[in-house]
Amino acid sequence: MAFSLAKRLVRSLAVFIVVTFAVFSLMYGNGTGIAHAVLGLNATPEGIQAEVVKLGLDQPLLVQYWQWLSGVAHGDLGNSFYTSESVSSALSNRVPVTLALVFLTLLLTAVLSVILGVTAAVRGGWMDRVLQFISVLGTAVPAFIIAIALVFAFAIHWRVFPATGYVSPNVSPSGWLASISLPVLALLIGAVAGAAAQFRTAVLDQLGRDYVRTLRARGIPEREIIFRNVLRNAAPPGLTALSLTVFGLLGGAVFIEQVFALPGMGQMANMAAQISDVPLVMGTVLVVVVIVLVVNFAGDLAITFLNPKARTR
């Protein structure tokens, strides 16, 4: 077990290095452009060159990357080229917003997709057809289109929720819920559409298995068969779908944060990437890579817990 964990850790570290180095390399070599953008239109060539040196952008790629990596190891993610704000400070303000959005959506997705997927698989008929239709629609319509429609209906027309902005739960829990409701709903529709279909398929697959017929033949109540046996065996593909949903939600959050003016990580990453604010971009990449690795790990753990066969691998 310890060996397996160690192997996972080494693999995760390798993924981290490869991804961060790849992103860093893509942004390398733009020192003059960045310095000019920082200083503005009327910057002189001498001023630009001085700024390049000040920001350390005249160093070779490997040197710059190593400096960044060393900083990360010491908890120093650097400072924004443009605002000089510490990247750690910027992330500490923004990551909770994105995480709240993503994980609240994920929680609701898990609950709703299980309910809908199981119901559709068990009851079949018109419910199943409705779910399939909704799945296609929810997957086809982008989240930001849904977001705009929600804003129009619930914020502008009926004035039920705020159109933009974020209230921290520390400031007001009810204000937080209100400010996060429409963004979560915008992401939820597409996420549930995909995950519910996965659960439905997994449950249908299990319902057709011999062991289910055997359990029915023994007179076990249908409810018990579904909750004690079918769901447990249908969980792995469902959990895999859910962990993939997290990655989709992280990407979708970038657009949703724009539409609702949420001060999240996605909005910051979008702005930082446009102006090549390398420390901020790398800070965001670091957080995302860590989230991806942790979610993958948690998903594997959950599957192992639910499915004893997976423990032997």
Partner: protein
């Protein structure tokens, strides 16, 4: 009918309760209603479409620069025509043949950290501006004298002419100790507001409380100022319509829906002139552009009236000059010498020996309305067999590449300034960053030199001569005056004045 299984009932009920609990929160965070108390109002909530780059005073934007205007005073402020108005300096004059700006600093002013505003602090700020930020070139070689704590004179090595006011009024004034330490985590100034760091999040929302001791406090009626960063036009319009913000710049396509909303108005600024900059007058990079007849031909293929009507939905005005109406360089009654006439344009190209045209690389960037303009410009230039190749510029390199001279011809919605002399300096003199090829021209350069030492009337006459020359030489292909659209909640806010010499947005002091 099957009942919902109990195991599902709990989460479903929970979901309903969560969402129901939100219905009591309508328009959370909406801007408080204005209430007058001796002329004072509670809160002004503005949105800006881009964030600014921290609190380094040498690196503050003029465009949507309300945060800087809130926390810092300057020695003087420029009005809509670029003329200096009192700020920290209550008296000032330009002497020494337009080389020296002498000012008297108001008595008894203090920074937000309690230290006094004096000539030593102002000197430190000008010294800092000469070595930091994008405007260093404006303060190269200056000498500063501070005979006492309330008097200062700044002398440039050469005469500055009508741009001396802009240069004297630009640096933000803060205590010298912070500049020396480059300590810019929060701004310290003597401005009409003080940043509330606890209620601010970088890149998202900045909150300021009024400085009741400010020398001009009565001109800023709002006790609290909130600036939100909303980069999406959709989000900004939604926020304005639901009362979450009081004012914001909106894109042209959003104007109609904003104007249709109750209690919202749109101020239409015309601080820009859409034009092609034809900067390679000597034909060094694009020989064809060095030919006057080619430049004139390019001027004649654009139907400006149709552009104003169709591309700008009527929110533009055809023009044959790049300077704003009412400025010193503007020539009243000038007939456009290049009317829309494709046949004539083609014959000019033939006379110049370019009937087969040439290839032209035109850079494009987001945010400059190229999606609307470029297809038309491409189509019309094609009538002269000029094949346009669009070169998208993105990321941090975009500005550098644009101004590098790599693209001598650029399509841009470039500002027309309230101080036309400044515009001439920026666009037409070799030192100007929008004179992309930085090519000397004896006519313009000699007149510019005279402008720097001339009295105002002579300077105005010389500016008109430069304008006429540029029109005759077709240095630009001006198309329309257009500008930005500033939407605001008219039931809460009024904007009775427009102080921005760039005419892009109201200044903070314009909001009442």
């Amino acid at each position: 009918m099957r009942r919902i299984p109990k195991a599902f009932a709990v989460p479903v009920t929970g979901l309903v309760l969560v969402l129901a609990g939100c219905t009591s929160q309508t328009a959370a965070g909406s801007s408080p209603a204005a209430s007058s108390s001796g002329g004072e109002k509670q809160q002004l909530t503005l949105a800006q479409t881009v964030d600014f780059y921290g609190w380094d005073p040498s690196n503050q934007p003029g465009f949507q620069g309300w945060a800087a205007e809130a926390v810092w005073d300057q020695l003087c402020k420029t009005d809509a025509n670029g003329k200096a108005q009192p700020d920290l300096a209550d008296k000032f004059e330009v002497t020494n043949g337009n080389k020296t700006f002498k000012a008297h600093i108001r008595e008894g002013q203090k920074f937000s950290d309690g230290t006094p505003v004096d000539s030593a602090a102002v000197k430190a700020d000008f010294d800092y501006a000469s070595k930091n930020g994008g405007g260093q070139a404006d303060y190269k070689g200056i000498k500063i004298e501070t005979p006492d704590a309330n008097n200062i004179s700044i002398t440039w090595p050469e005469a500055q002419g009508p741009v001396i006011d802009n240069k004297a009024c630009n640096p933000k004034i803060m205590p010298a100790s912070y500049l020396a330490a480059k300590k810019f985590d929060k701004p310290v100034g003597s401005g009409p507001y003080v940043l509330d760091t606890a209620a601010s999040t970088t890149g998202s929302v900045y909150t300021f409380t009024k400085n009741e001791n400010h020398w001009n406090a009565k001109n800023y009626p709002y006790k609290k100022l909130v600036i939100k960063v909303i980069t999406s036009d959709t989000a900004a319009v939604s926020a304005l319509k639901t009362g979450q913000i009081d004012a914001v710049l909106v894109a042209q396509p959003s104007v109609a829906q904003v104007e249709a909303s109750p209690n919202t108005k749109v101020v239409k600024f015309q601080g820009q002139t859409t034009r092609l900059l034809l900067t390679d007058h000597l034909g060094k990079s694009i020989p064809a552009i060095g030919n006057l007849k080619v430049r004139q031909a390019i001027n004649m293929v654009f139907d400006k009236a149709a552009m104003a009507k169709s591309l700008y939905q009527g929110n533009a005005e055809p023009t044959g000059q790049v300077f704003r109406k009412g400025t010193d360089a503007y020539i009243d009654g000038l007939q456009d010498p290049y009317p829309f006439d494709v046949a004539k344009a083609k014959s000019l190209m033939a006379e110049a020996g370019y009937s087969n045209g040439f290839t032209l690389n035109l850079p494009t960037m987001t945010g400059q309305n190229f999606e609307t303009l470029m297809p038309y410009v491409t189509q019309q230039l094609a009538q002269l067999n000029i094949k346009v190749k669009q070169v998208p510029l993105t990321g941090a390199n975009a500005i550098g590449d644009l101004l590098s001279g790599k693209y001598p011809v650029v399509l841009w919605q470039l500002g027309n300034l309230g101080n036309s002399a400044l515009q001439i300096y920026i666009e037409s003199t070799p030192a100007g960053w929008w004179d992309l090829m930085h090519q000397p021209d004896q006519y313009v350069d000699s007149r510019w030199k005279q402008i720097t030492t001339a009295d105002p009337q002579t300077a105005a006459k010389l500016q008109k001569e430069i304008n006429q020359y540029q029109v005759d030489q077709a240095w630009f292909a001006p198309m329309v005056y257009m500008g930005t659209n500033y939407a605001y909640n008219s039931s809460k806010v009024s904007i009775p004045t427009e102080s921005d010499q760039e005419a892009l947005t109201p200044k903070l002091r314009d909001f009442k």
